[in-house]
């Protein structure tokens, strides 16, 4: 399947793998890059390859929470209100340019992401399962953006940036060899995804591996000069993502290599406080170099 998505997203196998791991780990994905790098394509490809319902919301500065969650509409026939679900009620939601919306709308989305349900007028409406939010944001140096605070960044399991494709892949792209996402056949269904997610949680984490993760967390906390310290939620995210990665690698147990593979995606945005600068990935590299990986 990775190769299938890879055909859509030329030359980005590692990112596709990470995005898939994120999906398996029941996490949400934040993709940060310049416009036109294939963010939307990735999101759509992910959704289609599992046959998931896919909706897309382009965030603008005047988008309101009700535009996302839906609202109670008066039904004159029944003389009562009934709930009209918003675009949040889909299995994969692509929140385009999330950092252009107002903080109020951002937090409405992020609450839904954390709780897995939406409350409108005192009534809780469960969101469909699986539920994945892929948010994209443009670089903060671009106009008309309001940055996500650290607390909300923490809700995203991973942050990816796609980057420019390699020359060979770009040549293929220009030659029109890439597939359109709608060309992807649904070999898997949502049930398969749920099953994979459950299997993911059963991946074995040995004591030695947990020690490694704990050492990483300790290290980030004992060296405050090296970015923000990692929270316990970051530790959970790291283990969940590493589990998903090990599943993708076809192993039944997690090894430090899995942790290292997802470390930058899981931890960098928690450590740099959303200020992705020139030195993207440096903090997690330094963190990784500070802990014995041999075990």
């Amino acid at each position: 399947m990775i190769s299938a998505i890879g055909e859509v997203l030329l030359g980005k196998e590692h990112q596709v793998r990470l995005a898939l791991a994120c999906l398996l780990a029941r996490g949400h994905l934040l993709i940060e890059d310049l416009p036109g790098m294939g963010k939307t394509t990735l999101a759509e490809a992910l959704a289609r390859s599992f046959g998931l319902g896919f909706k897309r919301v382009s965030f603008t500065s005047d988008l309101l929470p009700a535009d996302l969650t839906g609202l109670n509409v008066f039904d004159p026939g029944a003389a009562s209100f009934h709930f009209q679900p918003g675009p949040l009620f889909s299995q994969v939601l692509l929140a385009d340019e999330i950092n252009r919306a107002s903080p109020r709308t951002q937090s409405a989305l992020l609450e839904a992401m954390a709780a897995g349900r939406v409350s409108v007028d005192g009534v809780s409406h469960p969101l469909p399962q699986p539920f994945l939010v892929i948010a994209t944001q443009n670089g903060l140096d671009q106009g008309g953006t309001s940055a996500l605070p650290e607390s909300q960044l923490d809700r995203f399991l991973m942050r990816l940036s796609l980057g420019y494709p390699p020359r060979q892949a770009e040549r293929a792209l220009l030659q029109g060899e890439g597939l359109r996402p709608d060309g992807l056949s649904g070999a898997f269904g949502p049930q398969d995804l749920l099953e994979l997610q459950a299997r993911c949680e059963r991946q074995h984490c040995s004591a030695a591996l947990l020690d490694y993760v704990l050492d990483l967390l300790d290290r980030s906390r004992s060296q405050p000069a090296q970015g923000h310290p990692l929270s316990p939620r970051a530790g959970l995210a790291l283990v969940a993502a590493a589990r998903a990665w090990s599943l993708l690698e076809g192993r039944e147990h997690v090894i430090p290599d899995d942790v290292q593979a997802v470390l930058a995606a899981v931890c960098e945005h928690r450590m740099d406080g959303g200020q992705r600068g020139e030195s993207d990935g440096k903090l997690s590299q330094r963190l990784q170099a500070g802990v014995d990986g041999l075990r």
Partner: protein, 619 residues
Amino acid sequence: MSRAAAPLQWLTMGLLTVGLLGLSPALSLSLLAFGLAVLTALKLREARSLEERRVVALLQLVGAGLLAALRPELGPSLLQGLAILMALAGLLALELGAGPDWKALMRRSLQVLVAALPIALVLFLLLPRLMPFSSLGSGHGMGAMTGLSDSMDPGSIARLAVSREAAARVAFPLGGGPPPLEQRYWRVLVHERFDGRSWRSTAPPFPRPAAGQPPAPAPTPAAPGEGIQLWLVEPSGLSAVPWSGAGRPLSPDLTPQRSGELLNRAPGSQRRVYALTRTADPGDWRTEPPGPIDLVLPRGENPRLEALAAGWGRLGSDRERLNAAGSWFRSQPFRYTLEPGALPRQAPLDHFLFETRLGFCGHYASAFTTLMRAAGVPARVVSGYRGGQWVQPVGGTGYVDLRQADAHAWSEVWLQGEGWQRVDPTAWADGDPLATAETSGETATGTAPWDWLQRQWWGLDIAWARWWLGYDSEQQQALVQRLLGDQRHLLGLVVLLAVAISLAASLGGLGWLGRRRSGDTLRLELEHTLRAFARHGMAPDAGETLPVFAQRLTQRWPALGDPLNAYVGNYQRQRFASTPSRAGRRETRRLGRALRRSLRTGNLPKEAVQRGVPLNRRP
């Protein structure tokens, strides 16, 4: 900085304070220790930063060291050891970060202490001792205790309570078994001044020998009990300490007196430990002629006594007078009792000698000495301890346990040509406790468990005192002599070398412990393999995982690919898979050995063996 740091440091402070409590405040060095403790506590109170707390920990270690120099007995030593352990743990809590908990800190601290033992041993054996510190003990604190006092007035005591309180313990490191009962007299005070009722001790200072005068040759000990003595004396407040009357004290503040007292220049509230060697002092109190004070007797106080003595006074020699008095005492029905009732103020000794004939040692010694003086023989009363119980602690050196109940008084008379002779008139009385006592003391069946425990502890105490006090500067010289022979000038070099070697051993041991701590057998085995590769210039990068490193190794030595893959795969399964097994661990070790062997045997393509330059980094 660990959270345990502050509690540990306060705990250390508490232990040091407890150690200070037993210290006599009269001594300048203990003032220093008190001052240091107060300073450290204040510093600890205000310390916030890591640096300040570090200073506190170092001050605490210095304080414990000072305390160790002042109080080297077993109990305080254990306390100081504990304090040092806690102080080190506190320091480690500062330095090791937030990770280790109390248990880990204590274990690490203990490891550091154990690692320091070789250095301590070298310094103990070879460095000059700080003997004067330990013996400079103390000022005046307590009043006289029930056993002995400066003044003795038996007539005023109607009833003598028996106190089982501990008085002293004496061991004979050379003697072996218990000394015979008739030799177990330990003198403390000499009472020469008599006013008709009470005996007071006078202690004229003994003249110091003129400088350059050769010391008199050492006389052979008179009895097995008079060899080396090791004393542990409870605080008494007396100006003299017990001894057998022979030997030379090792502590400079103990001086034998002309009268045969062993003067303690710093009497006090602190327990004392001291040893006497076989070597005699130049002046021997036994041959020191009596002064006029030894014949002083207020006339007319006890007319019947004087009349009786006058009869003996007509005999020719002092020896005959003594024998006559002895046979008279034995012919009279004297009986020993602790409840004789008070004697009248008028002619008290007449009343005792001719009416009641009931009394304890003080009565007998007092009456007999008075009789001797009346007969013209110089005599004096000596008080001290007699008897005591021989205790053989489990697996230790035997010692004599002296209680306050063993306090005793006897007489000494001067015989021309024989010197001062001990005469114990109490022994002539009926019911003398010493005569009825068994020779080797009661058996353990009769002692309460607490007593038994206490005696075992004292046995340990004695053994400890013997150990550190017994290793004096003479033995040190002997050791150096044995080690170096004529090359004594090399001592400094040898000490330095020994310190360096033991330091290296300690650090090596600590390092080994640290490495051991970080891994099990599997990890040790892995490190063994990694060292083999490191010798070929390949070491894992910081944070690198084993598969990545193995990949680099395979790039450099393609021939090693298979054993590497087998080893790494097996290792990782053992480490991270859900089913590690003993057989799997064995297999991993076997694969590791195989890998090292193929690395050693040069089963490598030639072009790849280029030291320090991995294939993938070559230009």
